[in-house]
Amino acid sequence: MDFIFYMGDVFTPVNFALLLLGTVGGLILGATPGLSPTMAVALLIPFTFQLEPQQGLILLGAAYTSTVAGGAVSAILLKIPGAPANIATTLDGHTMALNGQGAKALQVSFLASAVGGIFGVLLLIFLTPVLAQWALAFGPSHLFWLAILGVTVIGTLDSSSVVKGLLSGCIGLWLATIGFDDIMGAQRFIFHSSLSGGINVIPALIGLFAIPQVITMLTKGRKDSGAEVITVQRHPIGAAFREVFSRLRALSIGTAVGSIIGLIPGVGGQIAGLVAYDQSKKFSSESEKFGKGHPEGVIAAESANNAMVGPSLVPLLTLSIPGSPTAAVLLGGLLIHGIFPGPDLFMNYPAVAWTFIDSMLIGQILMCIFGLFIAGLAAKVARVPHAVMAAIVLALAVFGSYSVQNSMGDVYVMATLGLAMYFLERFGFSAAPLVLGLILGPIAEANFIQGSMIANATVGLGPYFFTGALNWLLIAIVVVSIGYSVWMELRQRRYTTKDDAVAKEESLT
């Protein structure tokens, strides 16, 4: 029950103020169309440099939680999902708003988000120590396979094409090798002086997530979004409470689906929302009302996309394998403070780990309270023109990248990677596996070299990396994830893919 012991740390004046700031800021950022949670967290990282590690993580964690929930505001009032995770919310939420139930839809969405989110964080609290204990037995070969597993699972499950997903992962792994080799000190792939120190993760993350969105906003030209914000009428909060808790089936389905999907690396919130919506519709006694402004649609979608937040951090905190792009960004936030997550995290930095997790739990409650009261304000922010948003994000990306090491080289790397990623995305490549490759590349290489040395002195390379139950299990998961994705692709992916989600988002916006 360590999490109770460290709960008090969340309420120190600075920590609580940061939690409030992250929550309110996240709600506003989330409500802004075009600002994804991953991008919001990536842009916030430079602001955490001067903070203590746990303070920085509290800010980033609160922003992550609230941006996912805040995305419901623009989904409901503008029919533009604030984040891909809110696509399913649009289906019934916006219709409710059109029917004069905008306030009710918002309240129901924040309450369902809080319930799902709290359940997800509780899963994080109880699963993490168990998995961390188990992970202590991992040696270099297991950590090598885990890193490869992280890249391949996200590469195959998060992408519309298995080959392109794996190729993105390879590009990320290659980018991670740029710079000086740790063992021999040799220069590798240094084509420009900006690359002499290797590719710094934070500018790369900012570039890969922010710049493609800036360019996407620019491609819309001078067109007005045409979206009209629906005015919100007053609605008693008590009635919204009764509404949410009287629809326990949708709430349970959303929470369960979100939690399970959150645990699977690479399957994002947009999938969680859509699958929960679909399942909730199937099991509902009022399935014919779905799509016509049914609160159950909002409850299922919102509880699911917030329930996945906590579990998506389990692989990160226990195995140092980020389960989602946002978790990868959070890993970057940890690394800049010299903290390396993994099985040792809870022994070496218990205060940092538990305060961060506890803050996410409290953050869910704050998110719900603030969400219920500032939804109207957030809706105004949702109307910020894309021209202004593109200019602001671009400037923040430049300043944020520069401030990492006070280096123009980082700015060049950020812009180059971002520009390349935009074009890669247009041709079916995905940023998530590339980022995972970039982050997990050094882990994979270090453990491969270390494992090779042990292997050469003992049983030999083959037996060391390819025998043992754990090695076999990890290799099997790599093979199964690739095989499953290939099989699904051959069957023309008759299930909800990221492509479906993106297509749905594009059609909505």
């Binding site: 094409s161 392109k164 390879c170 290659w174 491609t219 300043f399 041709f427 070299i449």
Partner: protein, 154 residues
Amino acid sequence: MTDLPRTQHIIASGLIAAVGVTVAYISFTQEPAQAYLFPRMISSVFAVLAIWTFGKALLGRTKVGNGLSAEAMKNMLPGLIVMLVYVFWAAKALGFYTATTIAVFIVISLYDPAPHGAAKTWIKRIAITAGFMAVMYGLFALLLNVFTPREVFF
């Protein structure tokens, strides 16, 4: 799956294949070999997958990726030019704050749907730029103490 012209996919995957093959070539020819052990593994897979993708594009069997429409390219071009000039030249040559002020103002003016003829529009654009830059200066120069290149004005 997509009606995207095949040439776009061929060019994109061809470039990636060229990068993949170059990386593999460098990995297998550079010394010391021990330093390139891991890159050799990665680049082998990279090159094979990149050539596979290129082959599929050549055969017109690419199934994912919407490519770029002419309208999207036309819309993004002015903003992209501003972005490239800002990042790769102006930020260092003019100083971060001066360059950012100019870049933000140009991007907002280029992409704001409000009519260019109205004086109110320009006042709004100037106010947004000034307000945002004041926040940026407060955050980065005063709060975070980031010393950015300052060549012109501030």
